[in-house]
């Protein structure tokens, strides 16, 4: 099996990239993708830990995280669509007021 330390390092890297992106990027979709990246970093860590400790609970967490990520993306994209319809942009710097 792969050394869990390596998996951890990779997931930490992913998490930091995602965090940086979510803080610095302006395009709402890229921010959404960065959040997704962070979630997946955590998922990877969970999965690795589950295998390492021989306990399926980590997998359960992963499954839940995936499901929540899916609904989050659905809502997020729907909001972006609605915002775009009103503001003609999804740049997070320009759209700071959701009210019309």
């Amino acid at each position: 099996m792969i050394d869990p330390a390596l998996v951890s390092a990779l997931s930490a890297l992913m998490f930091v990239i995602g965090l940086g992106g979510a803080f610095t990027r302006k395009n709402a979709i890229i921010v959404l993708m960065c959040i997704e990246l962070m979630l997946n970093a955590a998922n990877m860590q969970f999965a690795a830990a589950a295998v390492h400790h021989g306990d399926a609970t980590g997998w359960v967490y992963t499954l839940f995280a995936i499901a929540i990520a899916a609904s989050e993306v659905a809502i997020g994209l729907a909001i972006f669509l609605a915002v775009y319809g009103q503001h003609e942009t999804i740049s997070l710097d320009d759209v700071d007021v959701l009210r019309n």
């Binding site: 390092a9 930490a12 998490f15 930091v16 021989g54 306990d55 359960v60 809502i75 729907a78 909001i79």
Partner: protein, 272 residues
């Protein structure tokens, strides 16, 4: 910097041997996963399911389309009846599908509108702020232009008439299309051609070179009296809106696709 530091800390903590010390030899199995999902985690799973369906319904609600014509199309009721016209399919995606709201009392309207035509055209003419000339000349020019406008109007009417007559000889699909073109052509009266400039089929540009213009839209534009890029380039935002309505295109699409800008670019390219 802070992020880098955070990354370093994360890596060092997670990679530390102590975290991974007590490993176990038995791997978790899929059945084990299913077991714990349906016993230990049954309630959270249920809540998760509800959450997800709420999210999906919410998303669908957020992106609902409230444009009048689409609602009418969906329910197929109201005083307007909707025709969906699908023209010869080609690589262009949605340009050829036009959701048109057609008034039921379509045919009888023709004659009424004809009368208004001259009035609209003529009253608009004198307002043009073009060509600074001497007053008398200006008047003459105005007269000439008026005459020209009336003549042009007459010619358009003739074309319309011709089209209407041709209707009978066409089969179902072609007739639908033709009716739509006629409807578009009738709306030409609402558009301020003194700003756009006039053109005829003889000096037509290939309008389909504009992104967003498919064969059928090009035909509609032609029916409207728009043949050249320069006409499109002259569009003001108001005229864009009028043209958009006249060709029964997706609301605001002309503006969003920047036809005027595209036309300007294409014009520039041709001159070089």
């Amino acid at each position: 910097m802070g992020l880098l530091a955070l990354g370093m800390i994360l890596v060092s903590v997670l990679s530390a041997d102590s975290v991974w010390a007590n490993s176990s030899d038995d791997y978790p199995t899929t059945s084990g996963l299913a077991d714990s999902l349906l016993t230990e985690w049954a309630l959270p799973l249920l809540i998760l399911g509800i959450l997800m369906s709420m999210a999906m319904i919410g998303a669908a609600y957020l992106v609902r389309d409230e444009r009048m014509e689409n609602l009418l199309w969906e329910f197929g009721t109201g005083e307007a009846q909707v025709i969906e016209v699908e023209e010869e399919d080609d690589d262009d995606d949605d340009d050829n599908t036009v959701d048109a709201v057609e008034e039921k009392a379509d045919e009888p309207e023709y004659e009424e509108e004809v009368e208004e035509v001259e009035v609209v055209e003529v009253t608009e003419e004198p307002e043009e702020p073009e060509e600074p000339e001497e007053p008398e000349e200006l008047e003459e020019a105005d007269d000439a232009r008026e005459a020209e406008a009336v003549e042009r109007q007459a010619r358009m009417e003739e074309e319309l008439e011709e089209r209407r007559n041709r209707l009978e000889s066409l089969d179902e699909k072609a007739r639908k299309k033709e009716q739509e073109l006629i409807r578009v052509a009738e709306k030409a009266k609402t558009i301020d051609f003194s700003t756009l400039g006039f053109a005829s089929a003889s000096d037509a540009d290939d309008l389909q070179r504009i992104k967003g213009v498919g064969p059928f839209i090009a035909e509609k534009l032609n029916a409207l009296g728009i043949y050249t890029f320069s006409q499109l380039a002259n569009m003001t935002p108001e005229i864009e809106e009028e043209v958009n309505v006249a060709i029964e295109f997706f609301p605001g699409r002309i503006k969003r696709d920047e036809w005027a800008n595209q036309a300007r670019t294409l014009l520039g390219g041709e001159e070089e």
